[in-house]
Amino acid sequence: MKKIIVQKFGGTSVSSARKRVEAAQRVLEARRSGYAPVVVVSAMGRRGDPYATDTFIDLARSIDPEREMEKRELDLLLACGELVSIAVMAHTIRCVGDVDTIALPGGQAGIVTDREFGNARILRVDPAYIHDCIRRGQIVIVAGFQGISEPGAKGEHGAVTTLGRGGSDATAVALGAALNAPVEIYTDVEGVLTADPNVVPDARVLKTISHAEICEMAHLGAKVVQARAAVLARRHNVRVWVKSPSSESAGTEVRRLEPAPGRKTSVAGVSQVPVAYVAVHVPDERASRLIELETYRAMQEANVAIHFTSVTTNKIEFVVARDAMPDVQQVLDGLTVFDAEESPSGQRRVYILRPNPPSPRFRAQQRLARNLGTPVPVPITISGRSSVVSIVAGNMPSPAGVMSAVFRALRQHDIHILQVADSTYSVSCLVPEEDALTAVRALHAMMMDKVQAGEWTLTDQSA
């Protein structure tokens, strides 16, 4: 039996006839090298292109903008993009290489998920049919981003599900795990870079990066590999190569690498993600915990993840994803917190979160609160003009050294750090949005200077 390789092509890599031929040639090269390729493809192109996922989303919305399509039917619709793609790619590869190909929707490829439409979790992969096809000498083309649910009630045979945005990467890695095969992810950059090349033109392609580092990078905004696919690759120890279909460069290998105690700090890159910053200015110390708890509870109910939390006696600060900002504004505006204890004057305090300028909802709550006690406005700031800029590092004995270098580098550019955070694999700074790109460039330059000076190493040099 031939060795199997999973090759994934994203939407832009199959968006035109020329690019599809280029992708087909990559597949045929792998076959000539002795591999049995299993190809995973995304929907062709981007919003506006006829078969792109976002085009189908727009189609669903156009029916009645006031009413959302049922998630089950929406998944069926969205899955069509990849179905078109596998049929077209199967035929393209057949024509270019005169080889036998077979196109498989996610369900036929053995990808079984739970029933969380729109964001389904892969429960198992049964690759028996893929193996059959390979034995027959066929090149298998699998639809990314989709699977099939387990049979449901009342004789349902299972429904088509989708895996969420960027889910084709997860399909490829799950297949890699199930087939015990390495995975190549073809994208529009030459590999995993030390920064976004649109921001830092001299960003370098890393030869190697660890599973943990790529997970952290994806979490912190790097878009080269979907975060969930990165986690899957780490969990199942799948070796992944990230490369460009139009380049002869070997790309970046993502594999298991353990931090080496005692070695120099090794850095992988700089990333940036836009966020919204939230500050609740607590008017009196004794209410701090009460307001903190109610704020957290509201965030939890709104299903919004909070990061960079920082609590002092007079301020509760955190950041949320930029797209969660409307939900946060909605739940915090006029949020009312009753103090269980009476004040010395015998009045009960009623704390009401107040945006600036005060909203109609705040004013209404304030009027109602007068019947219950003494209303106390709690000013809140919600700003969509912040970014988190991070250095991802694979071997960081303590974040102190990296953090001090970051502080000095940003100070040189007069960039005010609003807050910081650290984890085993990263240090991050919250900075004003208008300074974010300068901050990325400054941190990248500082990082490369330290590498040049031999104080730090790049992660691929320490592998």
């Binding site: 039996m1 079984v112 964001n119 979790r121 892969i122 198992r124 992969v125 049964d126 690759p127 799950a174 795990a177 199930a178 087939l179 015990n180 095969a181 997970c215 952290e216 994806a218 979490h219 975060a227 969930r228 986690v231 899957l232 969990r235 915990r289 903190e292 708890l293 957290y296 509870r297 965030m299 939890q300 299903n303 993840a305 909070i306 990061h307 939390t309 920082s310 609590v311 002092t312 301020k315 004995p397 303590s398 974040p399 102190a400 050294g401 953090m403 001090s404 270098a405 502080f407 000095r408 940003l410 100070r411 005010h416 750090i417 807050q419 910081v420 955070a421 650290d422 984890s423 085993t424």
Partner: protein, 165 residues
């Protein structure tokens, strides 16, 4: 036919774990340190940088750093006393000894909105103060009084229906 991992056929564990907190781990014997720094933002950055450089050069491992107007706080791992740190930093520090870090881990943390909120809420309801928090792609951490660690682990294990290790 190449080997197919049994786990991937659903025999042992699903390809993707259930979206929930999978593990709770703790680190004991850490201390929470607060150091005054210059109040003006850009000066504060330089001041903070020099504190961090000193700690790094002394091989003192820190984590969960936060900066505020006029002060910074962080966690120091290892058996250090207030006097040890003041000697290294050559400035006064505020110091809470015998703290513990409790970390909730999950591969699907990005889908688990509200874990930090739920953890802090559960701990406060159990009358356990949270000194500091932090998060990464697969974890949420809280710093508490080390004496309350057993109770915190029990509380969080119950809240997230997972065994603490």
């Amino acid at each position: 036919m190449p080997a197919v991992k049994p786990s991937l056929l659903g025999i042992k564990e699903p390809v993707e774990q259930e979206r929930r907190v999978e593990q709770i781990v703790s680190t004991e014997r850490v201390c929470h340190v607060t150091v005054d720094i210059a109040p003006r933002p850009l000066e504060a950055q330089v001041d903070a940088a020099s504190v961090l450089e000193t700690l790094d050069q002394a091989g003192i491992k820190i984590s969960l750093l936060k900066i505020h107007q006029g002060f910074m706080d962080f966690i120091v791992e290892g058996d250090y006393s207030k006097r040890d740190l003041e000697r290294v930093l050559q400035r006064p520090v505020q110091f809470k000894s015998n703290c513990a870090i409790v970390t909730l881990k999950s591969d699907s943390m990005r889908y688990l909105h509200g874990i930090m909120a739920a953890a802090v809420q559960a701990l406060y309801n159990a009358d356990i103060e949270v000194y500091e928090t932090g998060d990464s792609y697969d974890s949420v951490s809280v710093v508490i009084d080390g004496k309350k660690l057993p109770r915190a682990l029990k509380t969080l294990a119950q809240r997230f229906k997972v065994e603490a290790v």
